[in-house]
Symmetry: C2
Subunit: 257 residues, 2 copies
């Protein structure tokens, strides 16, 4: 499958440079944001049709398995509608998928194309929606590192979403640093694309609070509004019960069929 | 001061791509490693003189203040000699400097040129030693994120060097995530440059243990030797007592004069 026309690096380069220059005023601008799967020479129609008034929406999925009915009801259906109203970007979050799959990277790698294929199958139109691969945008890792100096370990350990997820996994005492800190990586994603609307389920609201805390802290340090806060766009069906009835449907927990 | 001839992105791009491709086999190679202060069009003499047999040495300093007598006796003198024997790279660690200065980035930014000027003043020759700016190499942040999935929070909290440093700072309960995880960033630095020798004081030995743990873990996942382990090159004077007699001389603790 040739994804070259559907994947773009539509990243808010200006904000990234403002963050970097506030963190390190001696730095020169990054010349270019590399997105390995974009076609740099052919402008996207979606890019050309961007209007300054539309809000930017960012959603995404971890590439840890095939999408399921829970995704369709809770998120994918909504995205098909959103692409006609907002500037929508969907991030295939392979870096985040690795945070609890560091020892089985092939599981994540092999699901990237599956996830994108599911997007196309349900009607997400690459001419209306940007689809980006997280690992192909080094600036997201850079922002994650800068932001990680503005968030304490104690704050991350208090995050209810992360706490619940840690309980449901078999980490024991070995919680990967990348897993505990993934809310910081999400903040990098949201702010890099300058997204002000983020479709989430109720269980993900603490992640947006964490992002907005980082935004306020960075703006305070900079002494001006470098980054924008984001608001949740709550799905009507935010949690589809799993087939075993114990929690929400989750591809990581294998309770979808 | 024009540093364009003295700073280069002499990074082990092959290893980085191997790490990335093991973490994510679908990725295409990064086209280029951006180093904002390098002169890409003029090859360095040091680059031209690289021989395959010399070992690679990586050292560096956090850009948090001017270098002092402790650095000179414990490290800088040695580097002047090492540059004639090994392929030496010195990393100006501004990203690491931010891990406990996230709220005062200008302190770090304003010291970058000072640190490099001190290198030149003591006889480090930019034609023999590569001097790189950490924040100018996005691949270091990317590797840090990949490696952070292979190290547990508990392991980081047990690191004796980090424990001592946390005690000496006034973080209270707010230890920045970037500070606790900086040994992972150091592992990224060492392995990105494929350094097999790292000059350190005795107090820094646990950092190299952490790097080698990551190296072994990554090689195990890959099923082959993608990365090389590193060895310490201990300085004869590893800790110069501070002027207040309480600990080692440290620019962060202001006990050098």
């Amino acid at each position: 499958m040739d994804l070259s026309h559907s994947v773009s690096g539509g990243i808010n380069q200006e904000s990234i440079m403002q963050v970097k220059s506030n963190a390190n005023p001696n730095l020169k601008p990054i010349d270019s944001i590399e997105v390995s799967c974009s076609n740099k020479h052919e402008p996207l129609r979606a890019e050309a049709e961007l209007s300054a008034t539309k809000e930017k929406v960012l959603t995404g999925d971890r590439a840890t398995g095939q999408l399921h009915l829970g995704h369709y009801v809770g998120s994918l259906q909504q995205r098909v509608k959103l692409q006609d109203v907002y500037h929508q970007t969907i991030l295939v979050a392979d870096m985040q998928g690795l945070t609890d799959n560091g020892h089985q990277p092939h599981k994540v790698a092999s699901n990237i194309v599956n996830v994108v294929a599911d997007y196309l199958a349900v009607g997400i139109d690459p001419l209306k929606t940007r689809i980006c691969l997280q690992s192909a945008i080094p600036a997201l890792a850079e922002l994650t590192m800068y932001y990680s100096n503005l968030v304490s370990i104690a704050r991350l350990e208090r995050n209810p979403t992360v706490k619940n997820e840690i309980q449901s996994k078999s980490f024991g005492r070995s919680i990967p640093a990348g897993f505990l800190t993934y809310p910081i990586s999400q903040a990098a994603d949201i702010t890099a694309f300058n997204a002000t609307l983020v479709p989430v389920g109720e269980d993900q609201l603490p992640m947006l609070e964490q992002t907005n805390e980082i935004v306020r802290r960075l703006n305070h340090i900079a002494g001006r509004g470098v980054l924008n806060e984001c608001k949740p766009l709550l799905s009507k069906v935010s949690r589809l019960p799993s087939t075993d009835g114990r929690s929400k449907m989750s591809k990581s927990m294998g309770n979808c069929q």
